[in-house]
């Protein structure tokens, strides 16, 4: 059976440190928008940490949750794309093919999680910041949508490595940059089709909830609710 990549985010472990946010920018060549563009709502963060305040002083609580693309099984972004730039691949990812994207931004509207981002301008890096760019990830030009890929390039590298070594991929061998960096171990990544994987086990916990479950998107990210 083919793989079905999934993620579990334990909100009880998450500290809101945003290591995942920077890890994602570094891994995926996400350009910095700059102040004026960021103020217009054009900063790109494939993963963001949402926060919510509850209660009145002094009984105040904060909740937060990291939100990347939920990699839905029934993703609303996919059927609406007129060019198949947004499509479902065999490993269950909501992949985005940049060269096929003509920039209707329909997918971004359809996404209930606002997890898709548009390149409003040609991305640029002040020299020599471009030297940090990851050669495994392409630069998205002006006019195309982009989104979290579950760091598919890392999965491909690991698969290629495993194939070269003629062995199967181990659980935990592939992890997106956010999961790799997470200091409190709040994020776990793996194959949901493998019942023995850590992610399958955690996704089955009673604490597991899906974000906006009522929309019927069947996300592959399971949030483990905070216990307080």
């Amino acid at each position: 059976m083919s793989r079905r990549w999934g993620m579990v985010i334990d909100l009880d472990r998450c500290t809101g440190c945003e290591a995942c946010v920077v890890a994602c920018s570094a891994e995926n060549n996400i350009a910095t928008a700059g102040e004026s563009q960021a103020a217009k709502g054009r900063a790109i963060h494939w993963i963001r940490v949402e926060r919510s305040w509850e209660g009145e002083f002094p009984n105040v609580r904060v909740r937060f949750r990291p939100v990347p693309c939920q990699q839905c099984d029934a993703a609303p972004c996919e059927p609406v794309c007129p060019t198949y730039a947004s499509y479902h691949n065999a490993e269950g990812l909501n992949a985005q093919v940049y060269n096929r994207c003509i920039g209707t931004r329909y997918c971004a509207n359809a996404c209930p999680y606002t997890g898709r981002f548009f390149n409003w301008f040609q991305p640029s890096w002040d020299k020599p910041l471009q030297l940090q760019l990851n050669p495994d990830v392409s630069i998205r030009e002006a006019g195309v949508m982009e989104k979290c890929t579950f760091c598919y390039q890392r999965a491909l590298v690991a698969e290629s490595q495993a194939e070269a070594e003629k062995r199967p991929l181990r659980d935990g061998e592939v992890s997106p940059a956010c999961v790799q960096s997470c200091p409190s171990g709040a994020m776990v990544f793996g194959d949901l089709n493998d019942p023995a994987s850590a992610v399958s086990r955690l996704a089955g916990l009673d604490r597991g909830v899906k974000l906006l479950e009522e929309v019927g998107t069947f996300p592959k990210i399971t949030y483990l609710a905070r216990e307080s």
Binding site: Q37, K40, G41, R42, R48, E50, R51, S52, V67, P76, P79, V80, C81, P82, T83, Y84, R100, C101, I102, G103, T104, R105, Y106, A108, N109, A110, P112, Y113, T114, F117, F118, N119, W120, F121, Q122, A142, G143, V144, M145, L211, L212, V215, G216, T217
Partner: protein, 469 residues
């Protein structure tokens, strides 16, 4: 209908020459004022083109769009103009089928609106593309890579529906022009003669030709109605097919179609009034036309209110959090001024004007139509933007403010419409001469063949105002 009325409508034979003269005057003579107007409009259109190129070159970032409001003015304009396009073909086809005689001076006017509004409307999905130079990927053409467009996407349905509608409307508009072009060919001189010789497609006015034309028009009239309905339904499905609060609604199909006809008729009334004034067609476009269209507008206004109440009341009672967020934002929140302006423009102002007979004059209907055009544009805006600003996760809610680029392009399309119209008027008699002449055919036999249709009782006859008698 009195005899006098009938004569006026069908034009007495002795008037025919005058009629032809009157109707060809705008085609053959152009005043400097018209040139000036065209230049002014052209400047606007050029500004819009420059803005579009600027945007295509630097990126969509020069617009006011952002995350999460990925659609804004452009899609508003798209829906608006596609809506306007319903004026024509649909109205003229229905009236043709219903054989309403009063329609004759109105049809071409309306059909032209359809074609131009469609062209303008259809350009917006391309203007709003992040990479407009790749728009042709929407066309299902065989590719060596084995890639086809995604037929599941409502945008593709849109593409197909709009191209079909455009083709159909063009045929619907152009077919009955052929005899008039033939008339022009016979009267014009110089380059115009050559031009019209080509355009007239060798029309000679034989009975066979007349017969075929009539048949074609009948078929077209029947076919174009479902196409027109489907177009705006599909436009509505662009929204209704995605799980966005207040977009995902079953009522959207008929709601959009009703809104489209509503705004279309309003646009038609404005266009007719302008033509009447500018081209001095007072004798051909008469108060009674405005009165009839005004009644139609009244019906559509009521229908529109019905739909908006149906839509909003169910959302309010359903009380689903994400939808109520959008609902309240439009009715009570930041969009409150726009929302209530829209209600005034679409109902509170036009309703009394159109309902009270004394106010349903040319001026009255034009005022009502103008507010309706504004109101319907706002309605489209209020469908597109608030849902995106208030979409689900409150953390990602946003704001939208259009930039000069979007405003320029929007204004340019509002200039493009009259410009195209003026150009059209300069090449085509805007009132179908042969139809106004009462289906004058050179050969009695052919006329007799068609006669029963002409003789048939006019379904609108009984409703005609007695003022003319």
């Amino acid at each position: 209908m009195t005899t006098r009325e009938r004569q006026r409508l069908e034009a007495a034979p002795q008037d025919r020459d005058r009629l032809t003269r009157d109707l060809l005057r705008p085609v053959l003579h152009t005043s400097p004022r018209i040139y000036l107007t065209m230049m002014a409009l052209g400047a606007f259109v050029l500004a819009g083109l420059v803005a579009f190129v600027y945007q295509a070159y630097w990126g969509m970032g020069v617009s006011g769009l952002n995350r999460p409001v990925f659609w804004g003015f452009y899609i508003t304009n798209f829906v608006f103009w596609i809506g306007i396009s319903h004026a024509g073909t649909l109205i003229s086809a229905i009236l043709r089928l219903a054989n309403a005689r009063w329609r004759r001076p109105v049809t071409r006017c309306a059909e032209a609106i359809t074609v131009f509004a469609l062209v303008i409307g259809a350009s917006f999905p391309i203007i709003h593309l992040g990479r407009p130079w790749l728009f042709f990927w929407l066309i299902p053409y065989p590719s060596e890579r084995g890639i086809w467009p995604n037929f599941r996407s409502p945008l593709l349905w849109d593409f197909c529906a709009i191209t079909t509608y455009l083709t159909g409307s063009l045929a619907f508009l152009l077919l009955p022009i052929i005899p008039d072009w033939a008339t022009l060919r016979d009267r014009a001189i110089g380059w115009r003669k050559k031009l019209y010789r080509v355009l007239a497609l060798g029309w000679r006015g034989t009975p066979r030709e007349w017969h075929r034309l009539e048949m074609a028009m009948r078929i077209m009239a029947v076919v174009i109605i479902p196409v027109a309905v489907s177009v705006h339904t599909i436009v509505s499905w662009d929204f209704a097919m995605v799980p966005v609060p207040m977009w995902h609604s079953t009522v959207f199909g008929p709601y959009f179609v009703a809104g489209a006809i509503f705004s279309g008729i309003a646009a038609l009334i404005i266009a007719m009034a302008l033509l009447r004034k500018i081209l001095h067609l007072e004798e051909y476009l008469k108060p009674i036309h405005f009165d009839h269209l005004g009644k139609l507008l009244l019906v559509m206004s009521l229908l529109w209110v019905y739909f908006i109440v149906a839509e909003r009341l169910t959302v309010w009672y359903g009380n689903a959090t994400p939808e109520v967020a959008v609902l309240l934002a439009t009715q009570r929140g930041k969009f409150l001024p726009l929302f209530w302006t829209m209600v005034c423009c679409n109902f509170l102002i036009p309703f009394p004007i159109l309902a009270i007979k004394r106010l349903r004059t040319i001026t009255g209907t034009v005022i009502a139509s103008s507010t309706i055009v504004v109101g319907m544009w706002l309605e489209r805006f209020l469908i597109v933007v608030p849902s995106l600003e208030f979409k689900y996760l409150p953390f990602s809610w946003g704001n939208y403010r259009p930039s000069w680029v979007e405003i320029t392009i929007t204004l340019a399309t509002f200039a493009a419409m009259p410009l195209l119209y003026l150009l059209f008027v300069k090449f085509v008699p805007i009132i179908s001469m042969w139809e106004l002449k009462g289906g004058e055919h050179p050969e009695p036999a052919a006329a007799a063949e068609l006669a029963p249709g002409h003789e048939a009782s006019d379904p609108w006859e009984g409703t005609l105002p007695s003022a003319g008698s």
